[in-house]
């Protein structure tokens, strides 16, 4: 099909569609040229100061040249920035490897553990001649990643236990699980973090403080687990009773049956809501600024706090949004691929 007949068949195949096409083109014509003019033509690139941007009159990408290190790494000591950078690189490499089904072998678990330890050493320091850096100085994208990934990694197994607990026939376990899920789901994350950061220290003996990052991490984990548990429970309910009975008939124990028969099917069914929750968790990390931590968004705000650069907050927030988008888009595309990959057996 040549282009002109494709256009005729798809864009101008009825009077209504023709009208809509013309309107859409008119709208694009209104929006795109000024946007390109602002973002590219009149934009200011490379190093400079706020005056450079004001003279250029367009988008101020100079802001990113001047402030990207504060935005990316927060208050982490400046001359040590290579450490969080290396940690992030390791982390992204690990994700890339884990995403590939060929590498789903038992050693991958070991690789995760090892990488987490290496990242911990890089970030904390204090050994191998690295200057110690306290968690209160962690910030920016590495902090966002550490909190999001650890919260997700810990919440996921916990949520499976909660979902199984909620369907359990043992009354105490069931009551505990239901109580936990309903209680946590009944309060907003902001208030959980707020309790952890403001109320909790008041009940500790004076002088004893619990690491802020840990507090935020525990809060995020407990919160995400409650929501994930309900998604997992949805999957469990979709498994026909026959599957459970088959597991029993084979003489498998409860845990064997769950591990080998029920959970693999149930989890595959609920990949979309689970990934949904992962993405929410990743974006919710921006709330840790309440606890006084500089995640990516808070570090961006700190960079924009400099009076000279304040007028260019749009550019700063756009950059932060682009970073969030990259990670969330990757998660969502990967989950689609994973669904297709795991559905091969049922095709």
């Amino acid at each position: 099909m040549n282009p002109s007949s494709w256009i005729k068949a798809n864009l101008f195949n009825s009077p209504v569609n023709s009208l809509l096409t013309v309107l859409a083109l008119a709208l694009l014509g209104q929006v795109v040229p000024p946007l390109v003019d602002w973002a590219v033509v009149r934009a200011s690139w490379g190093p400079g100061d706020p005056e450079t941007c004001r003279r250029a009159g367009g988008a101020c990408w100079t802001l990113l040249t001047e402030k990207h290190r504060l935005m990316l790494f927060g208050v982490y000591p400046y001359d040590q920035h290579w450490r969080p950078l290396l940690a992030m690189a390791l982390f992204v490499a690990l994700l890339a490897v884990s995403a590939n089904r060929r590498f789903w072998r038992p050693w991958l678990g070991g690789a995760w553990l090892l990488t987490v330890v290496v990242i911990g050493i890089l970030m904390w320091g204090g050994v191998l001649g690295l200057v110690p850096v306290e968690t209160s100085q962690w910030g920016g994208l590495p902090l966002t990643l550490v909190i999001a990934v650890l919260a997700i990694a810990m919440a996921f197994p916990f949520s499976i236990l909660l979902a199984l607990g909620r369907r359990s026939e043992l009354p105490a376990i069931k009551a505990l699980s239901v109580g936990y899920i309903e209680l946590v789901r009944g309060v907003p994350l902001v208030s959980v973090l707020f309790m952890a950061s403001v109320m909790f220290p008041l009940f500790l003996p004076e002088g004893i403080t619990i690491d802020k990052v840990l507090r935020a991490l525990v809060g995020m984990t407990l919160f995400t687990a409650a929501y994930l548990a309900e998604a997992v429970r949805g999957g469990l309910q979709a498994i026909p009773k026959g599957q459970f009975e088959a597991a029993d008939a084979l003489g498998l124990s409860y845990w064997q049956g769950m591990r080998l028969i029920v959970l693999p099917q149930a989890l595959r069914l609920v990949i979309p809501p689970i990934v949904n929750q992962f993405i929410t968790c990743f974006k919710d990390t921006s709330l840790v600024t309440i606890v006084g931590l500089y995640d990516l968004l808070a570090a961006t705000k700190a960079a924009l706090n400099d009076p000279g650069w304040r007028p260019f907050f749009v550019e700063g927030y756009l950059a932060a949004a682009a970073v969030y988008f990259c990670f969330c888009f990757f998660m969502s595309r990967y989950s689609q691929w994973l669904e297709r990959e795991l559905a091969k057996g049922t095709r």
């Binding site: 504060l70 208050v75 220290p201 008041l202 403080t209 600024t289 006084g292």
Partner: protein, 339 residues
């Protein structure tokens, strides 16, 4: 019900009844090797990370001064950024030793909240910014004006009080986010913008296309003496922080700067000899090294240097000294004599 209430009272009571034993804070800080300082998450000129992620500002300099007095090294500080709601509990719970976070000294905070204030390091007040074209000379001319203001802060309350007291009316335009509020003002949605005077200067310097087109009215409608605070019940620690601040003001009164302090050691002035520890006694009285004030001035500078560097002429805020000038120049900065 009654049991629950008793229990709650007991818990809250025991939490509030935690003030450390006299002298405990100084010893604890010395043993720890660094000062834990509660600061703002980011308020340019007062406490904010700079491009390299190092803390800088007028409030940060108080933390640095205390560290210099204690350890002879102004960098021995651990900064804990705190939100407005977090700051008081963090101090009460012992998470920080010192709160230097643009906190207004009020009666309630001094009494019910269990804080002790040292001495103001910045006298602020709420004011108005208007367009020069408007020709407004005083806050009293603003009857019926549309005023841009942040919601939920004392700023909004002060504004309402001021207009009621002067039997005037105003239309508030309340916008949650700072940047949006400021662009709304500069694009002409309001006649005036109301905030703390130090904030207004920063907004004008940073966000106005042409700063000369905007004026900050001379009248201040509220008192905001920004003052570092410590936990109640440890007078020795309060003294250390307060005299660290006085040392900076006194140095300015005497014309001693970070550059000249070394040569001032040879000064014949007995007041300076006592301040700089040439004549011993002050350090011992405070529980510090005799060179405490010398170290502060050497590493942090006198109050005037700190002011100009962070919020004054050398900074982007370009604030005038105003109320924060020395008393000899018509301001309120006055150090008690260190003898």
């Amino acid at each position: 019900m009654r049991i629950a209430r008793t229990l709650a009272t007991a818990i809250v009571g025991s939490v509030l009844a935690l003030p450390a034993l006299a002298g405990a804070t100084l010893d604890a800080v010395k043993a720890r090797g660094f000062v834990q300082c509660g600061v703002n998450l980011g308020l340019y000129g007062f406490s904010a990370p700079d491009d390299k992620g190092n803390w800088a500002g007028l409030d940060v300099d108080v933390c640095r001064a205390v560290a210099a007095a204690l350890f002879g090294d102004a960098n021995k500080v651990k900064y804990t950024p705190l939100s407005a709601q977090q700051r008081l509990p963090a101090l009460q719970a012992g998470e920080v030793d010192l709160l230097a976070r643009n906190t207004t000294w009020t009666l309630t905070r001094d009494t019910a909240n269990g804080l002790d204030f040292t001495t103001p390091n910045y006298f602020d007040g709420q004011g108005f910014m208007v367009s020069r074209k408007l020709g407004v000379k005083s806050g009293k001319d603003l009857d019926g004006a549309t005023i841009c203001v942040l919601p939920g802060t004392t700023t909004e309350q002060n504004l309402a009080d001021y207009f009621r007291a002067n039997k005037m009316s105003f239309k508030p335009v309340v916008i949650e986010k700072n940047e949006e509020l400021n662009s709304a003002f500069f694009s002409g949605r309001c006649d005036a913008l109301s905030s703390d005077a130090s904030q207004l200067a920063g907004i004008r310097a940073g966000q106005a296309a042409n700063p000369d087109e905007w004026v900050i009215l001379p009248d201040l409608i509220s008192k905001e003496p920004l003052t570092p605070a410590v936990r109640q019940g440890d007078p020795q620690w309060t003294d250390v922080v307060r005299w660290s601040q006085y040392a900076m003001i006194y140095a300015e009164e005497k014309g001693v700067t970070s550059r000249t302090v070394s040569s001032s050691l040879k000064s014949p002035d007995p007041d300076l000899q006592r301040l700089l520890g040439v004549t011993a006694g002050n350090g011992k009285a405070l529980g510090l090294d005799e060179r405490w004030a010398f170290n502060i001035i050497m590493q942090v500078g006198n109050y005037g240097e700190s002011f100009e560097r962070n919020v004054g002429k050398e900074s982007r805020l370009k604030l005038d000294r105003g109320l924060n000038a020395l008393y000899t120049n018509g301001g309120l900065m006055y150090a008690m004599p260190p003898r």
